[in-house]
Symmetry: C2
Subunit: 226 residues, 2 copies
Amino acid sequence: MKKGNLCNLKSCFLCRNCLKHWLPAIEAHKQNLVIKKGQKIFEEEDPVTGIYFLFKGRVKVHRKWGDEKQLILHFAQEGDIIGYRGLGNQKVYPVSATALDEVTLCFIDIAFFETSLQVNPRLTYALMQLYANELQLAERRIGNLVHLDVKARVAETLLMLKRDFGQNKEGFINITLTKQDLASYAGTTYETFFRMITELAKVKIVKLSGKNIGILKETKLEKLIA
Amino acid sequence: MKKGNLCNLKSCFLCRNCLKHWLPAIEAHKQNLVIKKGQKIFEEEDPVTGIYFLFKGRVKVHRKWGDEKQLILHFAQEGDIIGYRGLGNQKVYPVSATALDEVTLCFIDIAFFETSLQVNPRLTYALMQLYANELQLAERRIGNLVHLDVKARVAETLLMLKRDFGQNKEGFINITLTKQDLASYAGTTYETFFRMITELAKVKIVKLSGKNIGILKETKLEKLIA
DNA sequence: ACAAAAGTATGATTTATATCATATTTTATA
DNA sequence: TATAAAATATGATATAAATCATACTTTTGT
């Protein structure tokens, strides 16, 4: 973990939601880190040491089930807060966070973060709102797993990725993931995910090019879900 | 909706987490309601008018998928806050809440609740913490749906109900639900749920008596999950 | 630059669980 | 208290998707 100091005190979730006069305190406490592709930022069951803010790169937030199986819960991007899932009653990360590319982030130790919450009610409120949105999302996923078939869930996954990361000029979703990770995010196996996506490509609803996926017919994907 | 005034300004989530000097303001704004068994307190897609605090009775929090299918997300009991799932970006309840028996609750309009959050940082913090716990729970459920079979999920459901509601002297879980509701909570169909629970009863891991379910061998249920 | 590991690609087989069908019992309501 | 409506109970059947098997390709580390 190389340490740098790239924070501009503006772009991250913490700085965006803090009082101006609190920024010097952040400046004094923050710790910039660089983490290489594939390396873990923190691991499930680790005691919560602090909260991270992502400046550059992408991070997957995931969790093991048994020792083989895996589920991806979230993909974080620039400006996002990471580690907040550990703020429940037990001060243990319920998930792991792994860098998808070389990642630059800012670490704030938990004690200072808790103080920041006390000093900045707006920060606490913003975090609460973030949780509210995430909870809504998570519970929609629960229902989708129970009531939708895999093809619909693959459709939903692609639409979510497009919404979160956008599509580039070539019309591909702006995030590059392995099919295995996509499957773990959609809540299915690699094989099934692969079959579904090739099927969608065959009927020109999506296009594939290596690891890139582009959505061609958004409305058709939406219809699959409803 | 009969209106009463049964709040003691002590037991509910709001009063528990407020500054003492804020209680008179709550007293002035609260609105007690009585809702009959089977009636809806609010419905999914309704604009958020306020937050409810449950004094007496049980409430199921649920959501429709399509027009047939249904999923139960939460069972609320005395002291619990209801309606907080609607505090995300869009001010719309993402779920419905239905009384499982005659229910007494206290309604706080959203404007006053938001003010309460601003005035009481501890309240905002407590709510944030509640969300953190709920999110953790929801994401564990996601993984369970993906990676556990129905029997294990039924086991998990029973253990959760026991943890949340306890077991009475006769050894039955302290909440009475239809098998259909239990199935909708476990994320399966009535028929499959029924088969699983009778199977568990046959091997004396649980006992059944009408709508009552009692856990006999907790460790065996836990083993089913792992 | 090369070996090992990870990821991609598909077909065949199995299995868990939803769906369908139907009878009985309990609960709600007029 | 009658009658409709839910809820319970179980067997038979269909099927979606996981698992297994295997070959090929790309990426990564030394």
